[in-house]
C-alpha cells in the first residue's frame, strides 16, 4: 500500500503561472482534504471532499480549485500563482470515524 501520494515534492513557480498539485490514495477512503501550512503555523483547510463528485470549500479556498472525479484522486489547481501561496501543501484522506492519513507534502515557492 502506497497510502497517500503527492506529486511533485518541490516546485518553484513564477507569479502568474498555474499548476496542479496531484494527490492520490489507494485506501479507498471517501474523505479527502487539502491543507496548507505556513512556517510556524498549523494546517489551514483549503478544500475537502466527502466522495467522488462532491467538493466543498474550507477555511482558505481563494486562489485554488479542486475536482474529485474518482475516489482515488483529488488534484488541487492553483491559477495565477501569487507569493502569498508560497507554502507547504498537504493532502490527507480518511474513512468515516477514523484518523486522517497524510501525504508527504509539496513545498511550493512562488517568486
Amino acid at each position: 500500500n502506497a497510502g497517500v501520494t503527492q506529486t511533485p515534492k518541490f516546485r518553484i513557480l513564477k507569479i502568474g503561472q498555474s499548476m496542479t498539485l496531484q494527490c492520490t490514495q489507494d485506501m479507498n477512503h471517501n474523505y479527502m482534504y487539502w491543507y496548507r501550512q505556513d512556517p510556524g503555523m498549523g494546517l489551514k483547510l483549503i478544500y475537502y471532499s466527502v466522495g467522488a463528485g462532491i467538493t466543498d470549500k474550507g477555511e482558505v479556498p481563494n486562489g485554488y480549485n479542486v475536482s474529485r472525479s474518482t475516489t482515488e484522486d483529488f488534484p488541487l489547481r492553483l491559477e495565477l500563482a501569487a507569493p502569498s501561496q508560497t507554502s507547504v501543501y498537504f493532502c490527507a484522506s480518511r474513512r468515516d470515524y477514523t484518523e486522517a492519513f497524510f501525504g508527504q507534502g509539496t513545498r511550493l515557492t512562488v517568486v
Binding site: G42, Y97, A100, F102
Partner: protein, 109 residues
C-alpha cells in the same frame, strides 16, 4: 466559525520533565478530536478521542477529552529529546477537520 486553540504555542523543558499540552475548541457538530505529532514532514497520528473522560494512552503519552468544557489535554511523561516536535490538535466537525496552530515542544538534554 469553527475554532481550535492550542496552548502554549511554544514550550521548552528538560529531559525527564512532564508536559501538558492544551487544546480547546468551538465547533458545530463535533465528532472527534485528534492529536498529531509533526517533526520535519507530515503529521503522524497519535490519538483520536470521541468520548468524555476516557483516557487514551500510548507509552508515555496520554490524552483525555472533556466534551462539556470543550477541551482536551495531551500529557507526555518522562520526556525525551525525541519528543521534540510540533504537536497538533484537530477537531472533526461537519466532515471537515480543523487544526489548531500547534504547540512547538523542545526538549533540552
Amino acid at each position: 466559525e469553527d475554532k481550535v486553540v492550542q496552548s502554549p504555542l511554544s514550550l521548552v523543558v528538560h529531559e525527564g520533565d512532564t508536559v501538558t499540552l492544551n487544546c480547546s475548541y468551538e465547533v458545530t457538530n463535533f465528532r472527534s478530536l485528534l492529536w498529531y505529532k509533526q517533526e520535519k514532514k507530515a503529521p503522524t497520528f497519535l490519538f483520536m478521542l470521541t468520548s468524555s473522560g476516557i483516557e487514551k494512552k500510548s507509552g508515555r503519552l496520554s490524552s483525555i477529552l472533556d466534551k462539556k468544557e470543550l477541551f482536551s489535554i495531551l500529557n507526555i511523561t518522562a520526556t525525551q529529546t525525541g519528543d521534540s516536535a510540533v504537536y497538533l490538535c484537530a477537531v472533526e466537525a461537519d466532515d471537515k477537520i480543523i487544526f489548531g496552530k500547534g504547540t512547538r515542544l523542545h526538549i533540552l538534554p
